[in-house]
């Protein structure tokens, strides 16, 4: 029974455990942490099982009608390669970050009760993202988007700090506006197609689109603005630097790594499944996405260069990297789209690890700014080493996962005939080197006085090492994940 209902069980387990956690508020946090880690492991196992199932049936997606009611009356879940890719990201990044969080979170949150609430929100976010991964229904998307948004905002506010609360409020405000746009877009699509199920909506839309061109354009614009705000697409990114730099370290890691990607993948699903590649090209949406991506890469990177606070620098870097994914979405060929998806997965791991490392450095040495980082290489060699490897990966150095994404985005750009896009990708990498290499250089090569700071705890290092190993393995042997991304791209583009 479990196997048949696995798609929905993944989401439900996360939700159920999330609601279960507050029961343990009065008990020791260890129980909570154990539960969280167990659940994440379960999700990972479930995802891998589903991946095997799909592989056996020739990569065709598993269609699962919730409650047994088929579409278009019931909500349908569709677990294809894209869903598996994202679920793997959620579990693969969520697990190490949760492990990292278990160390010191009680102290940081200053109360045992809040630990339960923190992890409740954590699992709620994971549940919502998992839901976004598997759903095939538009309104379902909205529900999960809302759950994810509220969880994100609350995660930012979890740190009882005026800056964090201010950032969370700003995030909530802008995100709610975004939600409004998404809702309006859904409404418009429903108006035109009379369907909320994505596959059915596509069929209707491809017939009706030319009768209502402006409505369709409006709906797409609303989706891009709405999801773009939540995904921090430039210039809708204004909430992100404050939110991700003020939040607790594990929260920043999850937010920058996973949450932002969830919205992009939801947008990709809507654009490719409901609107379809042909209509997207006819309406020039692909070129708009390409352009916005390029602008985001350059703007985000330049803004990152200007930041001295390490976490803010990483936050603006996320803004830039989101641009890469949007650029790939606009390329309209399998190589480019697969490259974008692989890049998203790779960035999730890298950025999460970078935030964790930065958080460890800040909490152990008290140094928040890049200009203060002198000597960290000696004080915390392992953490800094991890930071270095992940930085190199973000810059797209070969033998690390970032290179695979970059290489394929370049191939996709050349194939799509956009030489400018390929130049911007390279420029983005150079600027990334510009804002990350100085951190490494200052930490290792600038002489500093002697201190007594020691390396972080075993748990934190292990979690960061897991992520780093993923980065290295994916760089040298990207095969399995790349095949997944390729199939996902084929599914999306094949219509």
């Amino acid at each position: 029974m479990i196997q048949e209902n696995l798609p929905v069980l993944l989401v439900v387990t996360l939700l159920f455990t999330a609601y279960l956690l507050p029961i343990f508020t009065k008990r020791r946090p260890r129980i909570i942490e154990l539960l969280v880690v167990t659940v994440e492991c379960l999700i990972l196992g479930g995802t891998l099982y589903l991946a095997g199932l799909i592989a056996r049936q020739g990569r065709a997606p598993i269609i699962y009608p919730a409650g047994g009611w088929p579409a278009p009356w019931g909500i349908e879940l569709s677990v294809g390669s894209l869903s598996i890719l994202f679920l793997l990201m959620i579990a693969g990044v969520g697990l190490p970050v949760a492990i990292f969080a278990t160390d010191g979170i009680t102290w940081q949150l200053r109360s045992r009760q809040r630990v339960a609430w923190f992890f409740t929100l954590y699992l709620l976010l994971a549940a919502a993202l998992a839901g976004l991964a598997v759903t095939n229904d538009l309104f379902n998307v909205y529900v999960f988007v809302e759950v994810a948004t509220i969880s994100c905002c609350a995660l930012v506010a979890a740190k009882d700090d005026p800056l964090a609360i201010k950032a969370a409020f700003r995030y909530l405000l802008l995100a709610t506006v975004g939600s409004g746009f998404i809702f309006a877009g859904i409404g418009l699509i429903y108006l035109v197609t009379g369907n909320l199920d994505m596959t059915f909506a596509f069929t209707e839309l491809s017939q009706r689109a030319y009768t209502y061109p402006h409505v369709v354009r409006l709906a797409i614009s609303f989706f891009v603005i709405g999801f773009g705000t939540k995904a921090a697409l430039f210039p809708l990114h204004l909430w992100l630097p404050d939110a991700h730099s003020a939040a607790l370290t594990p929260a920043s890691a999850i937010l920058s790594g996973l949450a932002v990607k969830g919205y992009i993948i939801a947008l990709a699903k809507i654009l490719y499944i409901i609107v379809g590649p042909a209509l997207l090209q006819a309406l020039s949406i692909d070129r708009i996405l390409l352009l916005m991506g390029m602008v985001a890469i350059v703007a985000g990177s330049l803004l990152a260069l200007a930041q001295d606070e390490l976490k803010r620098r990483l936050a603006y870097s996320t803004v830039a990297q989101v641009g890469y994914i949007f650029l790939g979405l606009g390329l309209m060929n399998t190589t480019g789209l697969a490259g974008a998806l692989f890049y998203a997965a790779s960035h999730a791991i890298i950025k999460a690890c970078l935030f964790l490392a930065a958080g460890a450095i800040i909490s152990r040495t008290g140094k928040e700014r890049v200009s203060q980082m002198a000597g960290v290489g000696r004080e915390m060699p392992i953490t800094m080493g991890i930071f270095t490897i992940c930085s190199f990966a973000l810059m797209g150095l070969p033998l690390l996962s970032g290179f695979i994404g970059k290489w394929n985005l370049l191939r996709g750009s050349i194939q799509a005939g956009s030489f400018l896009a390929s130049l911007v990708i390279i420029l983005g990498s150079l600027l990334c080197a510009g804002y990350l290499l100085p951190v490494i250089r200052t930490a290792y090569f600038v002489p500093a006085g002697t201190t007594t700071t020691k390396e972080t705890s075993f748990l934190q290092i292990s979690s960061m090492l897991i992520l780093t190993v993923f980065v290295i393995v994916l760089g040298i042997a990207p095969g399995p994940l790349w095949n997944l991304a390729w199939q996902a791209a084929r599914d999306l583009l094949g219509g």
Partner: protein, 480 residues
């Protein structure tokens, strides 16, 4: 197991081992470094033996995208780099025994060796790119070794220039893969010989920028003089031999394995490429005249000499390629000797500027003697071997109908004399202490490699066929 891989991997593993050893175990570290260099170099010689024995003029290895290829061109570069690495290791034992940071120095020293051999033996553009990009990062810690403000600034410039070049290179490679469908080096050229559109010219420009940074082609050369702030073994080996030759090697691969002489002739780019390279030949020498810091003078001389090789390659003729390959060999030997001597002077007397060298010949007779003979080579005079490479380069100029090139080489030769001979003459002037300070063990370690190299250069000058028939004929034979 192919000896190509033994060469590359042994150096890389050696580097990792040295990184793990504690800072204090100097003797053990020295032993491992020397052993690793020898193992690696001997592996390269083994590969060379098979290739040049004409039994199988090509050796390839494939594992997915990891293609390796040992053809005569690859071996010219690999032999030069590998052998000189061993000599540099010995030199460094004499030059920097008291250095406080030898662990990181030797770790990156060995890693760079493995990566350089990876560049040499790369069988396709992707593998070449991977090692090329990695070389920038493995040589950075060597450039900034002294950790001074100046060193950090030089390192920053080095990285910026190298990464921009690598970026252009990556786009070029992706575009090539797209245009030609394959990135692997074969017997012919990769690109379709009829692809004579504007796009192909842009592709060439990107490649020239990409490799031109490391090949110190003007105006992409500005990182090199700054990088002279590194310890002398680094300046000598990396920035006169390994890294810069990687750029030249890359351009040779582009001209011959990617585009092919025919396509380039059809595209009509030859005159532009020749002008670019000739400019660097002359401008490099002119700027060298004005340098007082000895290592900077040598750096600008390197910039000029590298473009000698590029001029040869860009003539798209067999004489030009012969001259380019032979000059790569000769320049490396001679330039490394010059740098070693400069380092010996600095180590023994602390003097780094030409103007300070007055009368030092009495203190360092052997150093100046070796420097003097090597200088003859730079100018292109017999009996030093560089005469022959220059001769063939000039012949290439004539035979391809570019007689202005003759003038370029002649003028450059005169300029070389103008800035090299005064250095030696300075040594004889004025009054310095009479007793030679060369008797100690450190100087011995520094000068013996120089002596070996100078002897080899002289022997090669008298019997150029020793290397000519293997290296040069092999390379030219594989492309023409």
């Amino acid at each position: 197991m192919s000896f190509m891989l033994v060469g590359i991997l042994s150096a890389l593993i050696g580097g990792v081992i040295v990184a793990l050893l504690p800072e204090e175990s100097q003797k053990l570290r020295r032993g491992i470094v020397l052993a690793t260099c020898l193992l690696s170099a001997l592996s390269v010689w083994q590969v060379a033996a098979t290739i040049f024995s004409k039994t199988s003029p090509l050796n390839t290895l494939e594992w997915g995208i990891w293609q390796f290829r040992a053809d005569p061109l690859a071996l010219s570069y690999a032999l030069i780099a590998g052998t000189l690495w061993v000599l540099t290791a010995i030199y460094s034992y004499g030059y920097m025994p008291q250095d406080p940071r030898q662990r990181s120095f030797y770790a990156f020293f060995l890693l760079s060796m493995g990566i350089t051999l990876g560049i040499a033996f790369a069988g396709n553009l992707l593998v070449l790119y991977i090692f090329y990009e990695l070389l920038t990062f493995s040589t950075y810690p060597l450039v900034i070794h002294r950790r001074s403000e100046e060193a950090l600034r030089a390192g920053k410039k080095y990285i910026i220039y190298s990464l921009v070049g690598a970026g252009a290179l990556l786009v070029a490679i992706v575009a090539t893969g797209f245009m030609a469908g394959s990135l692997s080096f074969g017997t012919g050229a990769i690109l379709d010989q009829t692809a004579t559109s504007g796009k192909t010219v842009w592709l060439l420009i990107l490649f020239v920028i990409g490799f031109g940074v490391k090949a110190a082609l003007m105006p992409l050369h500005r990182w090199l003089p700054q990088a002279m702030v590194a310890p002398t073994p680094v300046s000598a080996l990396l920035h006169a031999v390994a890294v810069v030759n990687a750029g030249v090697f890359g351009l040779l691969r582009v001209v011959y394995s990617v585009f092919g002489p025919d396509l380039l002739t059809k595209l009509g780019v030859r005159p532009y490429l020749l002008v670019l390279a000739s400019f660097t030949v002359l401008a490099g020498s002119i700027v060298a005249l004005r340098q007082d810091v000895l290592k900077k003078r040598l750096a600008y001389s390197t910039i000029s000499q590298l473009s000698y090789m590029l001029v040869g390659a860009f003539t798209l003729s067999s004489f030009g390629l012969s001259g380019a390959i032979f000059h790569m060999l000769n320049h490396s030997i001679i330039k490394i000797t010059l740098f070693f001597c400069a380092g010996a002077i600095e180590h023994n007397t602390g003097k780094t500027r030409v103007s300070e060298l007055a009368g030092l010949e009495r203190t360092l007779p052997w150093t100046f003697a070796l420097f003097g003979i090597a200088s003859l080579g730079m100018v292109g005079m017999l009996p030093v071997s560089a005469f022959w490479s220059k001769y063939y380069l000039m012949k290439a100029g004539l035979s391809s109908g570019n007689w202005p090139l003759l003038l370029v080489f002649i003028i450059s030769g005169i300029l070389n004399a103008c800035y090299f001979f005064p250095i030696v003459i300075q040594g004889f002037l004025g009054t310095g202490p009479i007793r030679s300070t060369e008797g100690n063990k450190e100087t011995y370690l520094m000068l013996v490699p120089c002596a070996l190299l100078v002897v080899f250069a002289l022997v090669l000058g008298v019997y150029p066929n020793l290397a000519w028939s293997y290296l040069v004929d092999g390379v030219v034979g594989s492309f023409f």
